[in-house]
Symmetry: C2
Subunit: 362 residues, 2 copies
C-alpha cells in the first residue's frame, strides 16, 4: 500500500503528513474550568498512546486555565473552537499547537484573517473541520443533479465546502493547514476523503463522526478509517466514541495495528473455537491477553512476535506454526504448550500459562 | 461501489454470489454429541440474524445426531471437516447444504473425487477453505523471489493453493464452489482476496481468521472485511472471535451496516462529548440504544431512520438536523428534545426518553 504524498505540517513536536507516522488524536471531556482534572485526563490519554489531544475552548476567560493545561501536557494540544474567533486567538496565545475551526461558522472574514495571521506568527496549524451537518440541501441537490448518488453527492459537497475554506485561509497566507471531512455515515466519509485526497496535498485527519456507543462506533470507525488507510489515505486519526476517550485511543491503536501500520509485538491470535474444543478457551485467551498486556506494560523486552491460543491440537501447533509460542486445547482439561509449531508438552492450564510467561520473559 | 460479478451458488435456500445479498455465517461451539444444546445454539444464532451456520463434524458415528440438528435448523447448515472425507460424505447424507474442506488436507484424490460426486448428486456446495497456516515456506519464498513483499507473497501463495484445489474439484465436475482465503493478518487477507477476486468468478467467503478476543478481533475483522466489501469483494462473511458466536453475528451485522449494505433503521448517532457536555451522555446514549433495540425487537414498525444523542445544544439540533429525533444535553441537568433539527422543548432526561419512545412508536 502506497501512502498518499502530502505537504508536511507540524503540531509542536508532532509532524503530520506523509513523511511522518500516522498519529492518534483524542479529545478530552472535562471542562477547562476543572483544570487539574483536565490535565490529569490529558496525561492519561498520553500514557495510553495518544499523540495529540484536543480540548474544547469556548470562553476567552478560560485562557489562563487553558495555558496551564498546555504547559503541563506531554503532547501537543489542539483547541477546538465552535464559533468564537476570539477564543481561537486566546488558545494560540495560551500555547495551543493547533486550532480546529469550522471556518464556515465564522461569519466574518476579518475574524478569520486575524486568526490566520496569528497562526502564521506563532507557527500554529489550523485544521479545517468540515462536517456533513453544515452542508446545505441546495449544495447536495446540485451535486445529485449531475447524477451522483446521495452519499457521493454529500461527500462531494463536503469537499467543495472544505476547499473554499482552505482557499480563504491560503489567501491570508496560511500554509499550515490540515483538513477533516467528517460524516456519521461511512460511505459519505469515504467519498469525501477520496475526492479530497485526489484533489489536494493537505494532510488528512480521518474519522467517522458521532459514530455512536462502542459496540457500533468501534466497527464504524474501523471500517471507515481502515478502508481509507488501506488506500494510503490519512495522516492522523481520531476514533469518535460515546465513551471515555481512553477507549478511543485503544481502538485507534488497534486500527493502526490491524492495518499493519503500527506493530505492538507480540500480537495474539486466537481461534473462535468450535464443537471440537474441550476447554474454556474464551477465558484462557483473555488470560493470555492480560499476560501480554502486563509484560508489555512492564517494559520488558519481549522477543516473541506472535502468541497463539487455539482450541484443538489440529488448529494448534499446525495452523499456528508461525506463532513463536502457543497454547492449544487438548483432552481432559489439559492443554498443549507449543513453540514454532512444535509441541513442548501437555500441561494444566496454569502450568502452561507459567511456561508461556517464562518463554516470553526470556 | 460496484460489486464484483461472480457465479451464483446455493446453500439450500440461501443464494451466494453477486445476485444475492451478502450473507452472514457463524460457527457453533457445542459438540455434536450434545445434540439438543447444539440445536438450541443454532436457533439462537438464527434469531440473532445469522443466515448460515457451520458445525464441526469429525466422526462418521455422529451422522444421525448431525442429521437431527440439520432437520431442526431454520437455516442451511454447513459441515466443517478437517481431515476425514468419510465425515464429509456423512454430513451430506445427513442434510448439510454445504461442506467446508481444506482439500489440501485430503491426501487422496479418490476421496476428494467421491466427495465431489456426492456433492453434485445432492446439489451441495463445497467451500474450499485455504488457510495461510497450510502454505509452505518454499511457496512463499518463490513468490518473494519475484519481488513481492511478505504479505503479498503469502497472499499470492494462498491464491495458488486455492486455485489448484478448485481446479481439482472442477475436474471432477463440481461447479458449486465457493472459496475462503484466510489469514490472521489483515494485509495477507486483503492481498489474497484481491488477487483471487481478479482471477476467478468464484463467490468469496470473507473473514480474518483467529482474529482474537473481541477487543482486537472485532477491529481486525471490521478493517479486513470492511475494506474488501468497500471494494465490492465478498459474498458471505464470517467474523471470527474468541467469544460466544452470537457476538460474531452482531459484529457481522454492524460491519454490513457500516458499509451501507444492510440497513437496520433507526440507526443511532451519538457524539463523543467534550468539555462542553454537562450531562452523563455515555449513560444516556446507552439508554437510547437499549430503547431502539427494545422497539426493534418488539417488531413495531418504526418510521424513524436516524436518532441522535448529542452532548450540547450546538452539536445537537444543528449538526444532527438530519436525524428524525434527538436528545441534546443542555444546562442544569436538563436536555433538549428535538425533531428534524427543531427544538421541541427542554425536559428532564426521563421525560425526554418518554418523548422519544412516544415519537418512535407513532
Amino acid at each position: 500500500m502506497k501512502r498518499r504524498i502530502t505537504r508536511q505540517i507540524h503540531l509542536g513536536k508532532v509532524g503530520i503528513g506523509s513523511d511522518y507516522p500516522i498519529s492518534i488524536q483524542s479529545m478530552t471531556t472535562v471542562p477547562v474550568a476543572d483544570t487539574e482534572k483536565l490535565a490529569a485526563q490529558v496525561d492519561r490519554l498520553v500514557s495510553r498512546g495518544c499523540d495529540i489531544v484536543r480540548i474544547a475552548l469556548d470562553l476567552v476567560e478560560d485562557e489562563a486555565r487553558f495555558a496551564a493545561v498546555c504547559r503541563a501536557a506531554k503532547c501537543p494540544i489542539v483547541a477546538d473552537i465552535q464559533f468564537c474567533a476570539e477564543a481561537a486567538c486566546a488558545a494560540i496565545r495560551a500555547g495551543a499547537c493547533g486550532v480546529r475551526v469550522n471556518p464556515g461558522l465564522f461569519h466574518d472574514d476579518d475574524e478569520l484573517k486575524k486568526l490566520a495571521h496569528l497562526a502564521i506568527d506563532k507557527n500554529v496549524a489550523i485544521r479545517v473541520g468540515a462536517n456533513s451537518g453544515s452542508i446545505g440541501k441546495a449544495a447536495i441537490d446540485k451535486k445529485m443533479a449531475t447524477g451522483l448518488p446521495f452519499a457521493d453527492a454529500l461527500g462531494s459537497a463536503l469537499v467543495d465546502g472544505a476547499l473554499k475554506q482552505c482557499e480563504k485561509l491560503e489567501s491570508f497566507g496560511l500554509k499550515n493547514i490540515k483538513v477533516a471531512l467528517k460524516a456519521s455515515d461511512v460511505a459519505v466519509t469515504l467519498a469525501a476523503c477520496r475526492e479530497f485526497a485526489a484533489k489536494t496535498d493537505y494532510p488528512l485527519h480521518l474519522g467517522v463522526t458521532e459514530a455512536g456507543t462502542p459496540a457500533m462506533g468501534v466497527i464504524k470507525s474501523a471500517v471507515g478509517i481502515g478502508t481509507l488507510l488501506n488506500e494510503g489515505i490519512g495522516d492522523t486519526i481520531r476514533v469518535s466514541l460515546t465513551a471515555p476517550p481512553e477507549e478511543e485511543v485503544s481502538a485507534a491503536i488497534r486500527i493502526l495495528e490491524s492495518c499493519g501500520i503500527r506493530e505492538s509485538a507480540p500480537s495474539l491470535v486466537s481461534c473462535p473455537t468450535c464443537g471440537r474444543t474441550e476447554i474454556d478457551l474464551f477465558t484462557l485467551a483473555q488470560k493470555v491477553e492480560a499476560l501480554i498486556d502486563e509484560l508489555k506494560a512492564s517494559g520488558k523486552c519481549i522477543s516473541a512476535k506472535k502468541i497463539a491460543v487455539m482450541g484443538c491440537p489440529v488448529n494448534g501447533p499446525g495452523e499456528a506454526r508461525e506463532a513463536d509460542f502457543g497454547i492449544a486445547g487438548s483432552r481432559n482439561g489439559q492443554v498443549i504448550f507449543f513453540a514454532q509449531g512444535k509441541t513442548i508438552g501437555v500441561y494444566s492450564e496454569n502450568d502452561a500459562l507459567a511456561k508461556l510467561r517464562e518463554a516470553m520473559e526470556k
